[in-house]
């Protein structure tokens, strides 16, 4: 059974708690990376006069970094609910693509209710880890993967709201690179093995660089840049390097 192969390729028993454990283990680096980010969110919210409890509730009900930063900023500055809704929609629209991609990797045995639960936990990092994993994704694996980051995100927010400085500022700013380090550790080994993956990544990086530095297009917001880069790079990849049926498992 191909779907029971974990990362290291060892055969393991199909066991619910085992799958949860694997997921949880894979989620630990995400959880650690989330703490400084959500800490900053808690800090910004508290500075803007948002009660700590409200900030933590936002983290527990939204679980999105850029979306929350944009949203809290709007709330602090007294924006309308329509503005808040539209901004959340635009900043978070990339999750729609990720959710679609994961819908194809989830085991078809997973019920609608369980899909509704898992959908809540799709973040950039959870998507990154689970979409790279070989074979079908089980509910236990996914819930294990989401559990740690969820707690880390809420905990960091509370700490940020309650304390003005958890760590020396220089160390805290250095921790900002952790999630990027994680992304690199996922992409680089894959691009060593597959020229197609390398080409797709390189195209996406070029597009996001253009939107950062080239005049006239550098006003486009981050959420859209990811969507545009993804759609263009993956379309080129799918046309130039289409996958064979048997490769797509």
């Amino acid at each position: 059974m191909k779907s029971d192969l974990p990362y290291n390729g060892q055969i393991k028993l199909t066991n619910i708690s085992n799958d949860f454990f694997y997921g949880f283990k894979h989620g630990i680096p995400i959880a650690l990376g989330y703490i400084p980010v959500s800490f900053t969110f808690g800090l910004i919210a508290a500075d803007g006069g948002i009660p700590v409890l409200a900030a933590v509730l936002i983290s527990m009900t939204n679980l999105t970094s850029a979306g929350q930063f944009a949203g809290i900023n709007l709330i602090i500055h007294g924006a309308s609910m329509l503005e808040i809704a539209l901004t959340s929609f635009i900043v978070n629209l990339r999750y729609m693509l990720m959710s679609l991609a994961l819908s194809q990797k989830l085991s078809s045995k997973i019920s609608t209710l369980k899909r509704c639960i898992l959908a809540f936990g799709i973040t950039d990092e959870v998507f990154a880890i689970s979409s790279i994993r070989k074979g079908e994704l089980t509910f236990s694996y996914m819930s294990g993967l989401i559990a740690g980051p969820y707690v880390g995100w809420a905990l960091g927010t509370a700490l940020g709201g309650l304390t003005s400085s958890l760590l020396p500022p220089m160390l805290q700013s250095s921790m900002g690179i952790a999630l990027y380090g994680m992304f690199i550790s996922i992409v680089v080994p894959a691009t060593k093995e597959s020229k197609a993956a390398l080409a797709v990544s390189a195209i996406a990086v070029s597009i996001s660089s253009i939107f950062k530095w080239v005049p006239y297009v550098n006003f486009v917001s981050g959420g859209w840049v990811i969507i545009i880069a993804t759609v263009v790079a993956c379309s080129i990849g799918a046309i130039m390097f289409p996958r064979e049926e048997d490769e797509l498992e």
Binding site: P29, I50, A54, I58, T61, N62, L63, G71, I75, A79, M81, I84, A85, S88, F89, N92, R94, Y95, M96, L97, S99, S103, Q104, L106, S108, R115, C116, A119, F120, I122, D124, A128, M170, S173, S174, I177, A178, Y180, G181, I184, S185, V187, V188, K192, A196, V200, S201, A202, I203, A204, V205, S208, G222, I226, A229, A233, C234, G237, A238, L248
Partner: protein, 100 residues
Amino acid sequence: MSNVYSGLIVMALVTYMIRVIPMVAVKGKLKSRFIQSFLYYMPYAVLGAMTFPGILYSSGNVLASAVGGVFALFLAYNNQSMMKVALGSIIAVYLCQRLL
């Protein structure tokens, strides 16, 4: 300030709808080879676009972040675990910031 709790509910609902609709609406496997290939390549595109140039602005010091990024590339190229790459890049950025 807007009402915090109304804002919270609006943000949470919009964000959740974005996540849940594709996952519940698309249950079967999509047949198109183009779409399957597209989705297969998605992680590489998403991660690439999210990492660069964002990584350069992760610490408030572009040079230190760049050094951290190069060190992360080096570690990842040598197949180090995710945890080691993440911690290694933090240490590199921290040391650079101390020295600069």
